[in-house]
């Protein structure tokens, strides 16, 4: 009985908080059929927002993946002064409100900012254009890969890497053949989380973008803009696209988790070794 009660509470909470609002979006979107939705999604400003969001993800996620792996290795494997500082700084984007991050970027790169005027003098525009939005997106989604990778790298220990060295592998060979395969699931998790965060970011991007429709509007900004201008059809359609992308990301993450569980199960049962190999290949 108690377990049943607990389940009801958990599911009820999810229903009220998550499923109902998302469900309503789907329902309201298709209220008048597929036609209006299609035209709303394919409107030039909506398409532009969609591509701009994907562009931000395409730049910020690889950057943060490379940085995250490098930072994790530095934190776990190297001894240098300021190591604890690096480890602490990585968490800063979690701690600071995205709006503050956006303002900080404006103060540095904007008009009258530390670097802004110098850059403007060289014809480089950061704030109110794509580079600034990339910076904001990269900033808010920075911690995930490093945070996922650090504990796995620590647990791996240095033995396998040292073993590879005594077997003749150069540091680069050791990284590609030993370290990276060992941390790959952590990195993949980190990438999925980074993508989800980058895709949904509103606050920081909103501050640095200037919110010019068809130019500096990402999908979340577009949704907000449409909503405020009473264009509910457009807002719902764009929200639907955003929700779909987010759900796809989560599904990908769940599939990966399942693959991984399948793999660790085969670690214990010899008969399924071949399927394990298919996964690793």
């Amino acid at each position: 009985m108690r377990r049943l009660g607990l389940r009801t509470v958990a599911l009820g909470y999810l229903l009220v908080l998550l499923l109902a609002p998302v469900g309503v979006i789907f329902w309201r979107t298709f209220e008048h059929g597929v036609g209006p939705v299609w035209s709303a999604i394919t409107a030039p400003d909506a398409m532009h927002a969609f591509w701009l969001s994907l562009t931000l993800v395409a730049v910020a996620v690889p950057l943060n993946t490379l940085f995250g792996i490098a930072a994790a290795i530095a934190i776990v494997r190297h001894r240098f002064p300021g190591r604890w500082l690096l480890s602490g700084l990585i968490d800063v984007p979690f701690a600071i409100s995205p709006v503050v991050i956006g303002l900080a970027l404006v103060l540095v790169y904007g008009h009258g900012g530390w670097l802004g005027d110098w850059l403007a003098g060289h014809g480089i525009r950061i704030i109110f254009s794509t580079p600034g939005m990339v910076l904001a997106t990269a900033f808010v989604s920075l911690p995930f890969v490093a945070r996922e990778t650090v504990p796995v790298l620590r647990e791996l220990g240095t033995d396998p890497e040292q073993a590879a060295a005594t077997l003749g592998a150069s540091p680069a060979q050791t990284f590609w053949r030993i370290t990276l395969p060992a941390i790959r699931w952590a990195v993949i998790y980190g990438v999925v989380l980074t993508t989800a965060r980058a895709l949904g970011e509103f606050g920081a991007v909103s501050v640095v973008s200037g919110k010019v429709a068809g130019q500096t509007e990402t999908l979340p900004l577009f949704v907000q803009d449409q909503f405020e201008n009473y264009n509910t059809a457009g807002a719902y359609a764009a929200a639907l696209v955003l929700a779909t992308l987010a759900i796809l990301t989560l599904v990908a993450m769940n599939l990966l988790a399942r693959l991984r569980r399948g793999r660790s199960a085969t670690d214990a049962t010899p008969t399924r070794a071949t399927s394990t190999r298919a996964v690793t290949a």
Partner: protein
């Protein structure tokens, strides 16, 4: 190939892990480094492998000074206590690693791997992952992996330390025979004196970062140079300033000129051997080691007082 270590020092902060180490391991021999934990034995092995840099001193392998060479170019095989298996690779890929790094031809790699797997008796398990092997099998895989590139020297760091007693005993015997087949200069580290004495012809005893004594198991047991070696290699009784081996504590049928009296506290029957715990007349407690026949002859029982002669024994300055 001989291993030579000259005047090696190594500190970790304030802790002197190795001080003034000099050592020579003969080509083709099977040597042991024996010492308690913290004695520097693993650090010494890692310095030879190039996994640690000494603060000063030199390491030579086969006459070549490798002190500044990275581990990749020292031609060593290294076996870790906790296997250091590449968990994402099959047993075959683990063993093939060194050969693939060296870009050997595929048929050659496969043939060599099969040969090594046969040598460590893992033929049927080539397609398994390390997670599917027992500890003993994992360590044999690690050994095959270390031997793949035909190293000049093989270094094993507490190779059987993580295994249970029966598997340890099996693998010891097996390592001994493997060495007879492969003949690569081998040095292994252990804290288990029985393991060291069973496997090796030459044992290096280490304590607090220094070498206490180098010798055959028999030399170490019979002619220990320091108190530490005396008490670490084999069992020992302390009587006043003297150190006496249990087999040198003789129980007599009747007292004579040099004998003392001992009160029997315990009698342990360990198969062929019998151990008798005694309190001597001046209060020292000692163990005596004798045979079953002898114990039967003397009809030893707890509570008896027997004449005891302390033969041999050594005093260290």
């Amino acid at each position: 190939m001989a291993i030579e270590v000259h005047d090696v020092h190594k500190r970790f902060g304030d802790f002197a892990a190795l001080s003034d180490i000099c050592l020579r391991v003969e080509p083709g021999s099977l040597g042991a480094v024996l010492g308690p934990s913290g004695s520097g034995k693993s650090t010494l092995l890692r310095v030879i492998a190039g996994l640690e840099q000494p603060d000063s001193g030199r390491v030579l392998i086969g006459g070549r000074d490798v002190t500044r060479e990275p581990p990749q170019r020292r031609g060593v095989g290294f076996v870790f206590q906790h296997y250091a298996a590449f968990k994402h690779m099959t047993v075959r890929d683990n063993v093939a690693f060194a050969l693939r790094i060296r870009r050997r031809a595929k048929p050659e790699v496969l043939a060599r791997v099969d040969e090594l797997l046969a040598l460590v008796r893992l033929e049927g398990l080539a397609d398994r992952y390390p997670g599917q092997l027992s500890g003993g099998q994992r360590q044999r895989m690690a050994l095959a992996r270390a031997l793949a590139a035909e190293p000049q020297v093989l270094l094993l760091d507490e190779p059987f330390g993580a295994l249970d007693a029966r598997v340890r005993a099996e693998l010891r015997e097996w390592l001994r025979r493997l060495h007879d087949e492969v003949h690569v200069t081998t040095l292994f580290v252990t804290h288990d004196q029985q393991e060291a004495m069973e496997i090796s012809e030459q044992v290096v005893v280490m304590n607090e970062g220094g070498v206490e004594q180098v010798g055959t198991p028999r030399e170490l047991y019979e002619h220990p140079r320091t108190e530490f070696v005396m008490s670490f290699v084999g069992e020992v009784n302390r009587v006043g300033e003297r150190f006496v081996r249990p087999h040198e504590v003789q129980l007599l049928p009747q007292s004579d000129a040099g004998s003392r009296e001992g009160f029997i506290d315990r009698v342990l029957h360990l198969g062929f051997e019998v151990r008798v715990g005694l309190t001597l007349d001046d209060g020292d407690q000692v163990w005596s080691q004798t045979t079953r026949e002898r114990a039967d002859e003397l009809e030893l029982e707890v509570g008896q007082i027997v004449p005891v002669r302390l033969g041999g024994g050594r005093v260290f300055a």
